[in-house]
């Protein structure tokens, strides 16, 4: 997705119920957006300053609030319609994505000369390869400062 002011969406977006994070690519920098639905904080990392990407493996994939709402609604409907069995189905809807996501989480950091900047929007191992493929070309082209 390309926005009107030339930012291209990078792989990985975190859309929590309140907290959000995303990463965007511009001509000379990456824009990291963190914050809430009502307030955004911006951090820019310029390609020329990027020394590499560090991937830290481990942790769980954060469960989406959509799944939590879905599980809660199915538990509520199930409890009314099926009693205890319905509650079990709702709990199952919550446990399955938690179990599937266990151990597949990761943290991505951009290494610069002054420290590492965490990319909070990337939390899954398969997002890292897409993210690095998009960023690597620009970072290699940039003249190091």
């Amino acid at each position: 997705m390309i926005t009107s002011n030339g930012y291209v969406a990078l792989s990985g977006t975190r859309r929590g119920f309140i907290r959000r994070a995303s990463a965007w690519m511009a001509d000379d920098h990456i824009l990291l957006i963190t914050g809430t639905r009502f307030h955004e904080r911006y951090a820019r990392v310029y390609y020329r300053d990027m020394q590499g990407l560090i991937i830290q493996r481990g942790g769980n994939i954060p469960i989406s609030w959509f799944w939590i709402v879905l599980a809660a609604v199915s538990a509520a409907i199930g409890a009314v319609q099926l009693g205890a069995w319905g509650l079990l189905i709702g709990a199952f809807a919550l446990i399955v994505p938690l179990g599937l996501g266990a151990g597949f989480g990761c943290r991505l950091y951009i290494a610069t000369a002054v420290g590492n900047v965490q990319v909070q929007s990337v939390t899954k191992t398969w997002q890292v390869s897409r993210f690095s493929a998009m960023v690597r070309v620009r970072a290699e082209e940039a003249r190091p400062s």
Binding site: M50, I54, I55, A113, S132, E140
Partner: protein, 193 residues
């Protein structure tokens, strides 16, 4: 090769991590890490030496440092700047004063570090109370006020569509219309009885 630290403990990553992208544990904290190094990681470190910046009699001085020679000029005000004062900013070179002025004015999006999304606030004030109906008596005026007061404020840096602010205004007006109608009906009924 520039030193890169472990994101967990800050300890410098060993050189073997620059050669392979395989995961390896940090020697100190044990965090499983993989490094994808870029060109800048292998670039020789450039240091600003005071001897290189020292000014001779014939050379123009930096506006801020009399003893240092000017290396560039500010793209906005034209002041002569030494290597220490010149801030490269995209295609421009700015002096510290112009950089601060640009950040304060808020006219340059590249210097913005945060934004409040008034369009999302107005939209939430209009929509969320609608689930309870009764709370719209407070939410609708607040949504209309927020939408009108902040309608010209910029939205997100990457999301430029302004439909939320207009949707909030319309929904807020509809909710106010509903309350006016409901009160009118209640008053009419009371007068009839």
């Amino acid at each position: 090769m520039s030193p890169i630290g472990c994101p967990q403990c800050g300890w410098e990553l060993p050189p073997r991590m620059f050669e392979s992208t395989d995961f390896a544990p940090c020697q100190i904290c044990g965090a499983e890490l993989s490094l994808l190094p870029f060109r800048a990681a292998f670039a020789p470190k450039q240091e600003l030496r005071s001897a290189d910046m020292a000014r001779s009699e014939e050379e123009a001085p930096c506006f801020y440092h009399e003893s240092k020679k000017a290396a560039q000029s500010c793209s906005r005000c034209g002041r002569f700047l030494c290597s220490l004062c010149a801030a490269e900013f995209g295609s421009e070179v700015l002096c510290p004063d112009c950089l601060v002025a640009a950040a304060r004015s808020g006219q340059d999006a590249r210097l913005e570090t945060e934004r409040t999304l008034y369009d999302s606030i107005a939209f939430a004030l209009a929509v969320v109370p609608a689930f309870t109906v009764s709370f719209t008596i407070f939410g609708a005026p607040a949504a209309i006020y927020t939408a009108l007061r902040f309608r010209k404020r910029p939205t997100s840096l990457v999301r430029r569509r302004r439909w939320r602010i207009w949707a909030a205004l319309l929904i807020g007006l509809a909710e106010v219309g509903f309350w006016v109608f409901a009160i009118a009906v209640a008053v009419t009924n009371r007068q009839q009885t």
